[in-house]
Symmetry: C2
Subunit: 423 residues, 2 copies
Amino acid sequence: MDQSSLILIHNASQLLTLAGGPQRGQRLGELNLIQDGAVAIAEGKVLATGRSAAMLARYPEASTFDAQGHVVLPGLVDPHTHLVWAGDRANEFEMRLQGRSYLEIMAAGGGIVSTVNATRAASAEDLIEQTSERIWQAFRHGTTTAEVKTGYGLELSTELKQLDVILALNARGPASLVPTFLGAHAIPAEYADRPDAYVDLVCEGMLPEVKKWWRARTQRQPLPFVDVFCEEGAFDLAQSRRILETASALGFPLKIHADEFKNLGGAALAASLGAASADHLVRTSDADIEVLANSNTVAVALPATPFGLNEPDYTPAQKIIAANGLLALASDTNPGTAWGESMQFILALACRKLGLTPAQAIAAATINAAAALNLADRIGSLEPNKQADLLILNVSDYRQLGYRFGTNLVSYVVKQGRIYPVT
Amino acid sequence: MDQSSLILIHNASQLLTLAGGPQRGQRLGELNLIQDGAVAIAEGKVLATGRSAAMLARYPEASTFDAQGHVVLPGLVDPHTHLVWAGDRANEFEMRLQGRSYLEIMAAGGGIVSTVNATRAASAEDLIEQTSERIWQAFRHGTTTAEVKTGYGLELSTELKQLDVILALNARGPASLVPTFLGAHAIPAEYADRPDAYVDLVCEGMLPEVKKWWRARTQRQPLPFVDVFCEEGAFDLAQSRRILETASALGFPLKIHADEFKNLGGAALAASLGAASADHLVRTSDADIEVLANSNTVAVALPATPFGLNEPDYTPAQKIIAANGLLALASDTNPGTAWGESMQFILALACRKLGLTPAQAIAAATINAAAALNLADRIGSLEPNKQADLLILNVSDYRQLGYRFGTNLVSYVVKQGRIYPVT
């Protein structure tokens, strides 16, 4: 091969390859670390990894990039976000701190309905501009792939507008975006007194149309995920099952918001339907943790949500690990409960609130997060033929991730071989 | 006056002046906000503030800088940090997460003793380089003035080296640094069995020498603060009193670390001695909160410390406000319990963990934080003749501070009139 098109990032104090596939249970945290490491990149993909000296000898013609004794690791993968929205809910945040009640906040136009109204009213161009800033914020903090959900339309046209925005921003870059259709995010106000009619609409009026639209819009791309918010006040277990089974029959891969505030059984439902992930899981019963852990459904913890809401309880990550489950981390970035795009902050929370070590948190936010998107064969680790998505930090010990908080330790984000400096 | 040397920052959606001096009790949170505001700057100081249209008419020859409809507010003041140290404690952080005991961590060389050893061994140049990165990190996140403590020497020569580093970094910029001598940070290992002998050393061997050295080194600068860690396992109330009274007699202004883990009475001691601030205050009794609130000593809450340690209890800020106290916020940045330079993250924690509104948190991190450094006449608000230290955010509603977390909302830091872009 012509080595002149090859980039060799060398002199990494620690090259975390995360090689070896998704990490279950006690295996979580296997970094497969190469000291004084190097990674060779060709055509946007990883060609090889190894010790710097050996790699420099093996690829003498490559363009070299000196990591200057800093940590190199796979780009972070954020497998649960709601990044496409219009407006903000700062007013609601302030009202909560002033001790106003939920009803007062609703009366002042707060809650998800305010984001739904703003998102319905926004043009696709406006949504692209507002969301693009958030994507860049995430990217600068190390997220090279993010899942992004719809769910602020709750009507077909706006849900499709959100999907269109996700596709447009994925094409624009810099981060790769993985779309999820979340028409069943909440019961819209116009269906408040007849939620089953909204479930009918999702199943009969939306899912088939989304599939048709998707095929026409993207031609060859695999279908997006379909997700449902299974929760008291949103969709109950039977409604969630109906939506997910309908989606599955149409060929959509599945996700679920389960057991955030109440244990409705969504985690076990996800496992039984072969969903890629079940997310939140704060109230999941021990029995359902067992069911989940015995499946290939990834358990996605979202510690920014209790942090954002100042709730005391977090996902029982240690139980998931003990049950031999697949644990991943995500940001849940959204305007209501958790506006924080930085996956580095999620690692800091995970160490403190879920009791993960830095190594476990890193694995949960790379290879296991990729598994939550059915993408563990393409991203989440630095192995031959995988996407060359990686980070060069400004520190030489990976444990600084998690230990330090509130700032950005990334110096360079490398996305499919292209190097972006980060100040 | 020659207007050509004048800078006019205009078109601020909200100009938060924080005018009117430190804010006690229920007054906390008075932003004195000017909509569509402008600030005129001359010779590094604020000349005037007002509505953009009026200011543009008043200073037609000024150089203009368009804030583009974003928030402008005083630079954040961080009145409690330990920014000068060598090494890190990532190993200790990981050991704690692995469930290792305090004794195991000590046996592995962890705890403050490891930072003391590394700081004693480091050259002044090394300390300057390592600390400078942290100062820039703080500055990029909006801290224009930071207090910085010694206390990782616990012997005269290293304590003076730390003071020298603080003076050198203050001269280098970009942030202003306010020095504090904290020789009484811990009982050094070599005095473990005779703590009173170390108190003797601080009072007789260190404080007079620090004064002499300071006078020779700085000529006209006011003396640094003297601080003591009044806590079980560190300095008891009688030892703390002796150190602070000795310092006061020598002319040093005072600070204290009080009631972080146990209520030893340090807060009331601070009030009785006229200290500028009493810091931590997690375990302060209701009676001592009253004593503190009835004094001019500022109560400094450090929410990153319980966050960093994952402890459940925070400073009872609402009680301090109810008692009509002066409340400020600081980062406590240090390698053991809280490595986080961003005061924006402290605001996000303060809203959630102390129940402050964004406006209250901003006042506590600007004008009241300045008061904790005896600098409320020079910094902490945008009023004529005060230093032109201010931030231009990339948002148009100040409540985004606190609401959002883990990222950086600052676009430009203006330090004594000089404009620094922040990516």
